[in-house]
C-alpha cells in the first residue's frame, strides 16, 4: 500500500493499464492516507464512499483506453461538482450544492478519473497562504505550522503529502505557482483562454485560469492534454490548435533563447533565492540554452495594477451573493438589511477588503483615476513581454520572493501578504502561460521554485524546457510524514 502513494500519476496509469494495480487498491490507499492526515486540514469535503464505489465499478467493467483509467483525484473546492458541496472556502457558500459540473472537472471524469473530494483554498481564492478559508488554515507537509501558500493551498498540501496523485487548481495572480513553489511540486498556469472557466467560482474573470498541479512535469503535460479544450460555455475560451503535450514531451532545449529580466532582482531578495536563480541560469547554459539579458521595465507596477483590476472584477462577480438564490442567508428587517447582514456575516475579512477596494475604484469619480489607469498599465506590462519575446523563447525567474513562512506571520499586514505574488502577477495580467518547478531548498529545508514564463499558447515549449531542467535538478522533497496519525 505504501508504495502506491509514492508513484507519479503517469506510473499509476501504466500500472492500472497493465493490471498490476486495481482502481480499488489505489483509491483505498489514498483514502487511508487521507484519514491519517486530517491534521493538515486539506479537505473541505470528502466523497470517499462514492469514490470506492466508482473504483469498484471501474475494476468490473472500466475502459482501460481512458487517459485517467480509474485514477482517484481530489480537486480544489472552487470547481463546481454536480451534487457535491462546493464552498470556495467561504461561509456564504458553505451549504451550496451545485446542480451542474465545471467543464474542466467534467473532462477529468470523462477520461475515467474518480473524485476523492474537495480541497481547501483561500476564500474565493483570495489569499497567498490559505489563511483566509472559512474552513481553517491548511498546514504544509514541508514543516510544522508552515503555510502551503495560496490560494490553491489545500491542493498543494494534499499533493505534496501524497493524498492525491495529482490535482487541479486555479491561478488568478499566482494561486497555482506560488503554492507549488512552497510545497516542492509542479504547478502550471496555462495561457488565458486554454481551459474553460465554466463552473469555476469566479474571482477575477479576465485573470482566472485553471491548471494542473502535479509531482512532475510529465504529469502536468498529461493533465493539460485533458483539461485544455475549447468550450462554447466560456465566452473567452480560445479555439486554437492544442498540442499533444504528453506524447510530444521531450528534452528539446538546445539553442532555445531564455530571457533573464533584470527587474526581477528586487530589493531585499534573500540570498538563497538569488542563488537559486543563478543556479537555474547555469543549468540552462549547461543544457545548451542561450541566456539573454532582457528588461521588463514596468514589472514593479504589475502588483499595484493587479490590486485594482482583480478587486474591481471581484466586487462585480461577488455581487451575486445576496442570500436570495443560494448560499448563506442572514435575516434582516427589510430587503436591504437582509443583503447587508448576509454579506457581512457570510464573507471573511480579506474578501470584504477586496470587495470594498473594487467598489471604490469603480465608483463614480474614481473610475478613470484607478480602474482605467490600471488597464493602461496592464497594456504596458503586456507590451513589455511582447517586446521581450521578439528576442527570447521563454523567461526564467524565481517563482516567489521567499520560501514558505509560518502560519500567522503575515496576516496583520495585507500589503506584505500581497508582495508574495510579485513574480507571478505580471503573467496573469498578460495572459501568458507559466510553470513553477521545484529547484532547491532554503536553510530550513523548505522547497524553492523557479518559474518559466512562455509565449501565449506555447505550453509545449514551456513543458519541454522545464522537463529538461527537472531531469538535471532531480529534486526530492523527502518529507518525514510527521503529520501522520
Amino acid at each position: 500500500m505504501s508504495d502506491i502513494i509514492n508513484l507519479t500519476l503517469s506510473t499509476l496509469i501504466d500500472k492500472i493499464k497493465n493490471k498490476e494495480l486495481s482502481s480499488q487498491e489505489i483509491t483505498k490507499a489514498y483514502i487511508a492516507r487521507a484519514e491519517k492526515s486530517k491534521d493538515l486540514n486539506t479537505y473541505i469535503t470528502t466523497d470517499f464512499e462514492n469514490a470506492i464505489e466508482k473504483a469498484k465499478k471501474f475494476d468490473e467493467k472500466g475502459n482501460f483506453d481512458y487517459k485517467l483509467p480509474g485514477v482517484p483525484l481530489a480537486v480544489k473546492d472552487l470547481f463546481c461538482t454536480n451534487n457535491l458541496k462546493t464552498t470556495a472556502g467561504s461561509k456564504i457558500l458553505s451549504n451550496f450544492i451545485p446542480s451542474y459540473e465545471s467543464t474542466v472537472t467534467q473532462h477529468l471524469w470523462d477520461e475515467g478519473a474518480i473524485l476523492l473530494g474537495k480541497l481547501n483554498c483561500d476564500e474565493f481564492a483570495m489569499g497567498s497562504s490559505n489563511e483566509t478559508s472559512f474552513f481553517g488554515n491548511v498546514e504544509s507537509p514541508v514543516g510544522k505550522k508552515v503555510v502551503p501558500g495560496g490560494s490553491s493551498g489545500g491542493s498543494a498540501s494534499a499533493l505534496a503529502a501524497k493524498l492525491t496523485p495529482a490535482t487541479i487548481g486555479t491561478d488568478t495572480g499566482g494561486s497555482i505557482r506560488q503554492p507549488a513553489s512552497f510545497t516542492g511540486t509542479v504547478g502550471l498556469k496555462p495561457t488565458y483562454g486554454s481551459c474553460s472557466r465554466y463552473g469555476i467560482v469566479a474571482f477575477a474573470s479576465s485573470l482566472d485560469q485553471a491548471g494542473p498541479m502535479t509531482q512532475d512535469v510529465s504529469d502536468s503535460a498529461l493533465i493539460l492534454d485533458i483539461i485544455s479544450k475549447y468550450d462554447t460555455k466560456d465566452s473567452t475560451s480560445v479555439n486554437f490548435k492544442r498540442g499533444d503535450y504528453f506524447k510530444s514531451l521531450s528534452c528539446n532545449i538546445k539553442g532555445k533563447k531564455i530571457g533573464i529580466p533584470k527587474e526581477y532582482r528586487v530589493d531585499g531578495m534573500p540570498k538563497e533565492i538569488e542563488n537559486l536563480w543563478q543556479d537555474g541560469i547555469t543549468l540552462l547554459k549547461k543544457l545548451g540554452a542561450k541566456i539573454i539579458d532582457i528588461s521588463l521595465p514596468h514589472t514593479k507596477y504589475a502588483l499595484p495594477a493587479y490590486y485594482i483590476v482583480a478587486p474591481a472584477e471581484a466586487s462585480s462577480n461577488l455581487a451575486r451573493y445576496d442570500g436570495v438564490k443560494y448560499g448563506y442567508r442572514s435575516e434582516g428587517e427589510n430587503l436591504i438589511s437582509m443583503y447587508e447582514n448576509t454579506r457581512s456575516e457570510g464573507f471573511g475579512d480579506e474578501v470584504k477588503r477586496r470587495i470594498m477596494i473594487g467598489t471604490y475604484v469603480l465608483s463614480s469619480g474614481y473610475y478613470d483615476a484607478y480602474y482605467l489607469k490600471a488597464q493602461k498599465i496592464r497594456r504596458l506590462i503586456k507590451n513589455d513581454f511582447d517586446e521581450a519575446y521578439k528576442s527570447v523563447d521563454a523567461i526564467l525567474t524565481p517563482s516567489t520572493p521567499s520560501s514558505a513562512f509560518k502560519i500567522g506571520d503575515k496576516t496583520d499586514d495585507p500589503v506584505s501578504m500581497y508582495l508574495n505574488d510579485i513574480f507571478t502577477v505580471p503573467v496573469n495580467l498578460s495572459g501568458l502561460p507559466a510553470i513553477s518547478i521545484p529547484a532547491g531548498k532554503d536553510k530550513n529545508n523548505y522547497p524553492l521554485g523557479l518559474q518559466l514564463i512562455g509565449k501565449a499558447f506555447e505550453e509545449q515549449n514551456l513543458l519541454d524546457i522545464s522537463y529538461s531542467m527537472e531531469k538535471e535538478l532531480s529534486f526530492k522533497n523527502n518529507l518525514q510524514d510527521w503529520w501522520i496519525k
Binding site: F96, I97, S99, Y192, G193, S206, T232, S235, T236, H298, K300, Y301, A305, Y307, I308, S315, A319, D322, V324, K325, Y326, G327, Y328, R329, E331, G332, E333, N334, L335, I336, S337, M338, Y339, E340, N341, R343, S344, K352, R353, I355, M356, I357, T359, Y360, S363, Y370, K373, A374, Q375, K376, I377, R378, R379, L380, K382, P414, V415, Y418, S430, G431
Partner: protein
C-alpha cells in the same frame, strides 16, 4: 490622498456590507495602506496608452437564442435559503 471614515462607510453601503464602527476603523487603516501602495501607478505617464480590457481582444461570439435546458425549476430552487417550491422568497418589499 487618504480615505476617511465617512468614505469607508459609503463604500460599505455601496458594497451592501454592514459594518460597525470598529470594523470601519480597521478597514480605514487597511485600505489606506493598500491605496498608498497603489498610488505608485501615478508615476507612470499613460496619456498615450490604450487600456487593455481583455487579453483575448476579440469580439465575443454570438449564438442563437435557443432554449437548451428546460423544466429545471426544482434544480434552480433547490439551493434557495428560504424553503419554497415555487419562488425565491425575500423580505416584504411593498407595504
Amino acid at each position: 490622498m487618504s480615505i476617511d471614515l465617512k468614505t469607508i462607510k459609503h463604500i460599505a453601503k455601496l458594497s451592501r456590507i454592514s459594518i460597525d464602527d470598529k470594523k470601519a476603523k480597521e478597514l480605514e487603516k487597511d485600505l489606506n495602506s493598500i491605496f498608498e501602495f497603489i498610488e505608485a501607478l501615478n508615476k507612470v505617464d499613460t496619456k498615450k496608452v490604450d487600456p487593455l480590457t481583455s487579453i483575448a481582444e476579440t469580439s465575443l461570439k454570438l449564438r442563437g437564442d435557443e432554449v437548451k435546458t428546460k423544466n429545471i425549476r426544482e434544480q434552480i430552487l433547490k439551493n434557495s435559503p428560504d424553503e419554497n417550491k415555487d419562488f425565491f422568497v425575500v423580505p416584504k418589499v411593498v407595504e
